[in-house]
C-alpha cells in the first residue's frame, strides 16, 4: 500500500497541481512540498505528493551501484 509513483509536475496552482507519468496525468495535492517547481519529479501516494526526488542523489546512488558491480 506504500507504493508511490515518481511523476513530473506539469501544473501548479497553490496547493494543488497536475503531475504526469508516461503521458498519464492526474491531480495532486502539494501541501507537503510548497517548494516544488514545474518540471520537478515528485513521489505521489494516494493523491498527495510525499517527497521531491533529487536528481543529484539519484546519480550518486547509480554511480555507487556501478562501483559495487565492479568492486565488491
Amino acid at each position: 500500500m506504500c507504493l508511490a509513483i515518481p511523476m513530473r509536475i506539469i501544473e501548479i496552482e497553490g496547493f494543488t497541481g497536475v503531475a504526469d507519468v508516461d503521458g498519464v496525468s492526474r491531480k495532486v495535492r502539494l501541501d507537503l512540498l510548497p517548494e516544488v517547481n514545474l518540471g520537478d519529479y515528485i513521489l505521489v501516494h494516494a493523491g498527495l505528493a510525499i517527497a521531491r526526488l533529487d536528481a543529484e542523489e539519484a546519480e550518486e546512488t547509480l554511480s555507487l551501484l556501478r562501483k559495487l558491480a565492479d568492486e565488491i
Binding site: C2, A58, E71
Partner: protein, 363 residues
C-alpha cells in the same frame, strides 16, 4: 532521469547479485518490514539473487494485513446502515470480515466505493450530500498525511457528511514491540522507504542502539533492494549496526517538517490493535477533538459498540506477520486458503506475504 527505469537495469542487477554471492557471507535473516517491499522482492525474483545463506522474511508492514478483525467488522457494520457510503482503497475490498467483506456487501447492493485517495472520498461526499461517506483510514505514515489533508479540506469546505474510520498505524512502535517480543530473530531490517519520507530515518535509531540490529532505509526498485541488502550484509560483516539511508533521492536527512506539523495538527497518538500483534501502546492515532465531527468511530460509537468480537480463526496470518512462520508452513496455505478463496488478509492483499509466495514461488 526518470527515477524509475534507471534503477531496474538488468545487467547491473545481475552483476551486483553475482558479486554479493561471491562475498561468502554468514547466514543472515533480513526482514523486509514493508509490504510494498515484500511484493517488489517477490516480483523481481530477489530471493533467487541473494547469497544462499541469506534469507528474507516478511514483516508487519502490510496495512491491509495488520488491520484487526475487530476494526474491519466495525467498518463493515457501518455499511449495513441506511444512508452510509463506505469509501475504501481497493486493497481492502476482498479482505474477509467475520461475516462478510466489502466486496460481498457491494454485491448485495450496499454502497461501497473504491477510491484512490481520501480526497476522492471528500469529493464523493460533496456529490452526494444526502448520504454520509465514511473513508476507511488504513495505512502507515505514508498514507496518514493524505487522510489528514482530506480532513482539513472537509473542515475548510464544511463537508458535514464525511468522516474517517481511522485505523492508521505507526511503524516504529510496531517494530519495537516485535523486536522486544524476542520471538523473531532477525539480523537486519530493510526499513520502509516511503514511510521514512514522512518520519525521517532517525525514527529507527533505537533499533541498532537497543537491539544491535543494522537497518537500511530502502527504495522499491530492484537495485534499491540490492543496495539495502548490501548495506546490511556489509554492516554485519564489519560487526556494525546503524541506520543507513540508501534511498537518498527520496528520503532527505531530515524529515519533512510540514508532514510532521500536519499529522500533529489532525492526529493524536493512541494505542492500536494489530492483527497478530495485539494492542501495541502508542502504535496508532486518533483524530483530535478539534476535528471530532470527522471521526467515524466517535460519530457512530453506539453502532460500533454492538459489533460482537470476532471468533477465533485457524488463519495463521498473525504468526506470518510476526515473521515466526512462513506462508507455506501454514496448514491452510494452498489447501483451503488461496487468492480466489482467501481465509485471511495475507492471502488477499496484493502485498500480503501469503499472496506473494502463492504467486511468485515457494523458495
Amino acid at each position: 532521469m526518470k527515477f524509475s527505469e534507471e534503477f531496474r537495469d538488468k545487467e547491473l542487477v545481475r552483476d551486483i547479485a553475482g558479486k554479493l554471492k561471491q562475498l561468502g557471507v554468514a547466514p543472515a535473516t533480513i526482514m523486509e518490514v514493508c509490504g510494498t517491499h515484500t511484493m517488489a522482492a517477490a516480483r523481481f525474483g530477489l530471493k533467487e539473487l541473494l547469497p544462499p545463506p541469506v534469507r528474507l522474511v516478511s514483516g508487519p508492514g502490510c496495512p491491509v494485513c495488520v488491520t484487526a478483525q475487530e476494526d474491519l467488522d466495525g467498518y463493515l457494520a457501518l455499511g449495513e446502515q441506511p444512508g452510509i457510503v463506505l469509501a475504501s482503497f481497493g486493497d481492502m475490498l476482498r479482505v474477509p470480515g467475520t461475516n462478510t467483506s466489502l466486496e460481498k456487501q457491494r454485491a448485495k447492493g450496499a454502497a461501497v466505493k473504491v477510491v484512490y485517495s481520501p480526497l476522492d472520498a471528500v469529493d464523493l461526499a460533496k456529490q452526494e450530500p444526502e448520504k454520509h461517506v465514511v473513508f476507511f483510514g488504513v495505512g502507515f505514515e505514508t498514507t496518514m498525511p493524505a487522510t489528514a489533508v482530506a480532513i482539513q479540506v472537509a473542515a475548510a469546505d464544511q463537508v458535514e457528511n464525511f468522516s474517517v474510520f481511522c485505523v492508521h498505524k505507526t511503524m516504529p512502535e510496531a517494530l519495537k514491540a516485535l523486536l522486544s517480543g524476542g520471538e523473531v530473530k532477525v539480523s537486519g531490517l530493510l526499513c520502509p522507504g516511503h514511510v521514512t519520507t514522512i518520519i525521517g530515518a532517525a525514527a529507527y535509531e533505537f533499533i541498532p542502539r537497543d537491539f544491535g540490529i543494522p537497518c537500511a532505509v530502502t527504495g522499491f526498485e530492484p537495485l534499491d533492494l540490492l543496495l539495502g541488502i548490501e548495506s546490511i550484509l556489509r554492516q554485519l560483516s564489519r560487526g556494525e549496526a546503524k541506520v543507513e539511508n540508501v534511498y537518498t533521492r527520496a528520503v532527505p536527512a531530515q524529515p519533512n517538517p510540514r508532514a510532521q506539523a500536519l499529522l500533529n495538527e489532525v492526529f493524536a497518538p493512541a494505542d492500536a490493535r494489530w492483527r497478530g500483534l495485539g494492542v501495541i501502546p502508542g502504535s496508532g492515532v486518533t483524530i483530535r477533538e478539534k476535528y471530532q465531527e470527522f471521526d467515524a468511530r466517535r460519530r457512530f460509537a453506539p453502532i460500533l459498540a454492538q459489533v460482537p468480537p470476532p471468533p477465533p480463526s485457524a488463519c495463521r496470518c498473525g504468526d506470518i506477520l510476526r515473521g515466526v512462520m512462513r506462508p507455506q508452513e501454514c496448514p491452510l496455505f494452498d489447501k483451503v486458503c488461496t487468492p480466489s478463496q482467501p481465509v485471511g488478509p495475507c492471502m488477499v492483499s496484493s502485498e500480503g506475504a501469503c499472496a506473494a509466495v502463492y504467486r511468485y514461488g515457494r523458495e
